[in-house]
Structures are given as structure tokens and as C-alpha cells.
């Protein structure tokens, strides 16, 4: 496998949605989302030469994106001190044009953003269709812990939706 910039950009292009999802879930402000996106890209590029081919690209992208997002939330307040700023804007984000049309989607987004860092990672991976085993492997916790945590978060989400419907 080529480890040049063109191959890297192809991977980014085909897995951009994973990075979008992580940035969108961990930051509310669009400027913070852009900064986080940039940081994820830089760390992916940094890790690209040592990419372990036994992992799927999607798993690798998810692991790095989540790790950067979780560690960056502590840095965002002092981001100028920590983030290596690049002049170029890597992603542009348009304001949501369907506000009000999909209230449930916005609620889900709001509920997820209220979760603690690891719970957020867990539910994102789960909703994206990863198995308990894959999630356990990515997070570095036991499969049984994944199951019990998912149930707890699912119930929490259900209760929150139920409260709003009532």
C-alpha cells in the first residue's frame, strides 16, 4: 500500500463522514468543529506511515478521530496554545437549512452531545452498526461492559424521548 499524500487523501475522501460525525458530536460551535476536523486530519496524517493493515480503514479512522476528539475537548478552551493552525480551511460547514423539519434528529444530536466522552464514543460506534466485540476492541474495555453501558445509554435516550413526547 502506498503511504503517499494522494493515497492518504483518497482514504480521507472515502471516510470523511466518520470524521464529520465525530467532530459534529464532540463540538457544538462550527469554528471548534473546523478546528477539531483539522486536528483529526493532522493526527491521521501523522499516524498514516505506521498504519496497521490488519485494521479496516474505517476502524483506524474512527479510533484516531475519537481519540483526538476526546483529548481535544480539554484543549479547546486554550486551543491557540495547542492547535497547530494551518491557513487553509479543510472543511466548510453550511448552516442547517432544515431546522424544525427534523426535530427528532436534532434531539438525538442534543442528547448525544450531553453524554460523557466515552459514552458518546460508545453510542456513536453502536449507532454506526459496530458489534459489541468491535466496540470493546476500539475502546479497550470488555465486551460485557460494552453491553451493559449500551443498555444504560439506550434507556437514557428512550427516557429522554419519552419525556419530550409526554
Amino acid at each position: 500500500m502506498n503511504r503517499d499524500k494522494d493515497s492518504f487523501l483518497k482514504i480521507i475522501e472515502s471516510h470523511k463522514l466518520i470524521i464529520f460525525k465525530v467532530c459534529n458530536s464532540y463540538c457544538k460551535d462550527s469554528e471548534d468543529q473546523k478546528d477539531l476536523f483539522q486536528e483529526v486530519i493532522l493526527q491521521l496524517w501523522n499516524a498514516f506511515p505506521s498504519y496497521d493493515e490488519t485494521y479496516k480503514f474505517s476502524t483506524w479512522v474512527y479510533r484516531i478521530s475519537l481519540n483526538v476528539a476526546i483529548s481535544s475537548y480539554r484543549k479547546l478552551k486554550t486551543k491557540n496554545k495547542y492547535f497547530s493552525r494551518l491557513e487553509e480551511e479543510m472543511v466548510s460547514i453550511q448552516a442547517d437549512d432544515d431546522q424544525g423539519k427534523n426535530e427528532e434528529l436534532q434531539l438525538l444530536q442534543a442528547f448525544i452531545s450531553q453524554l460523557e466522552e466515552l459514552n458518546k464514543a460508545l453510542i456513536i460506534l453502536y449507532l454506526d452498526g459496530y458489534s459489541h466485540q468491535e466496540i470493546a476492541e476500539m475502546l479497550g474495555i470488555s465486551k460485557s461492559n460494552v453491553g451493559s453501558k449500551i443498555n444504560r445509554i439506550k434507556n437514557k435516550l428512550k427516557t429522554q424521548f419519552k419525556n419530550l413526547e409526554a
Binding site: L42, N67, I93, E104, G140
Partner: protein, 220 residues
């Protein structure tokens, strides 16, 4: 009530929404200098390397001083104490440098986050080491007078003056240092006095402690 399938369907809608509203600037990505992050990292390694070098050299100089004053117990002991103190900071920096150079974002999430938290919490380790300067202040006096003026203050100082300094050091500064050391724990990171001591890093340290507790709960 939202059932699982409905939640997953909503999540798919989220994908569509993001695909619609977020646009990757491929042209900018192609021209961007992505290697900048590597330079940022090596700057951090360089700073930590300098800290390590400074304390490594200090440890060597203090130990050399101790051996050169082997026949004068109070000066030799002072040199040994400061030598050990510098050596501990050197080892702490070395450990920190090892952690920094090992940071791998492709690592399992709980493993990497714990490593990053430990790096962030080393600032508290340095503070805990720094408090020992207070009870050792008389050692600094001995050293400075000897090195700057060639005067052995214990030899020329009055007995009462020496005893009063030893009493102040052992009776006031030593218990105070032990008390401060016990208070300087990550658990106190969210206290106002600790935030002031950490000079702007307080909220990050307290967030790090909270995340560490979350990870430990996950692994329990």
C-alpha cells in the same frame, strides 16, 4: 418511545444531513502542509528534553559537589540531598518524555486517554517535588555561601543561629511541606487554590481527572 431501529434510522438521517452541510475542501487539503503537526510534536519533545538535560546536569553537579566535600558532613549531605532531588525530577521528565514520544492516536481509546491524562497530571508531580525546597532552604544557604564566597556558614555561624534555622526547617517547613504534598493531589484539581497554582491548566487537569474516573468506571 424511540426504539433502537428508530434511533438507527435517525442516525442515518444524520449522515445525510452531514453529507449535505459539510464539504471537504480537497484542494486545500492537497496544498496544506500536513507535516506541521510533526514539527509541533518535536518542539514539545525538545522542551522536555531541555528540562531533562537541566536536571540531569544539576544532579551530576550536586553529586560531584558532595564527593568533593566528603570530609565535611553537612556540605556533603546537602550535596547528596539536592543531587537526589534533581535526579528525581530528571527521572520524572524522562518518564514524561517517554510517554510523549509513545503517544499513538491509533491506540485503543481508554489506553491512549489514560496515557494522555498521565502526561497532563505530571504538572502535579512537579509541584509535589517542588514543595521539598521549603524545608531544604538551609541547605541552599550552605551551598550558596560555600560556592559563591567560599564560606562554611555552619563553621562561622553562631550556634544559636544554626539551631534556630534547623528548628524552623524541621518544626515549621517540614510539616508544612508534608501537608502541602498531601494536598497536591489530582483530586484537588478543581479547587480554586490549585487552579491558581496550575496557572491556567486547572480546568484541563480537573477535566482530565474526571475522564480518568470515567475510564476507570468503564474498566471496572
Amino acid at each position: 418511545m424511540k426504539e433502537l431501529d428508530e434511533l438507527k434510522l435517525l442516525w442515518v438521517n444524520m449522515d445525510e444531513k452531514l453529507n449535505r452541510n459539510w464539504k471537504l475542501n480537497m484542494k486545500n487539503l492537497q496544498t496544506a502542509n500536513l507535516d506541521k503537526v510533526k514539527r509541533g510534536m518535536s518542539r514539545l519533545v525538545w522542551i522536555k528534553g531541555l528540562t531533562m538535560g537541566f536536571y540531569g546536569l544539576s544532579a551530576l553537579l550536586f553529586m560531584t559537589y558532595a564527593f568533593s566535600r566528603w570530609g565535611i558532613p553537612h556540605q556533603a549531605v546537602t550535596g547528596i540531598i539536592f543531587g537526589i532531588w534533581s535526579l528525581v525530577i530528571f527521572i520524572t521528565s524522562l518518564h514524561e518524555l517517554r510517554l510523549i514520544t509513545r503517544v499513538n492516536y491509533a491506540e485503543q481509546i481508554s489506553v491512549l486517554q489514560k496515557e494522555l491524562i498521565h502526561i497532563q497530571l505530571t504538572i502535579i508531580k512537579y509541584l509535589r517535588l517542588a514543595v521539598w525546597v521549603f524545608p531544604l532552604y538551609f541547605g541552599f544557604i550552605i551551598l550558596l555561601f560555600d560556592l559563591l564566597f567560599g564560606v562554611d556558614v555552619v563553621e562561622v555561624g553562631s550556634r544559636n543561629w544554626i539551631i534556630s534555622n534547623v528548628v524552623i526547617s524541621a518544626g515549621i517547613f517540614l510539616p508544612a511541606a508534608i501537608w502541602m504534598r498531601n494536598k497536591l493531589t489530582p483530586k484537588n484539581a478543581n479547587k480554586n487554590w490549585m487552579k491558581k497554582l496550575l496557572r491556567g491548566n486547572g480546568s484541563q487537569v480537573s477535566d482530565a481527572v474526571r475522564l480518568l474516573e470515567e475510564i476507570n468506571a468503564y474498566q471496572a
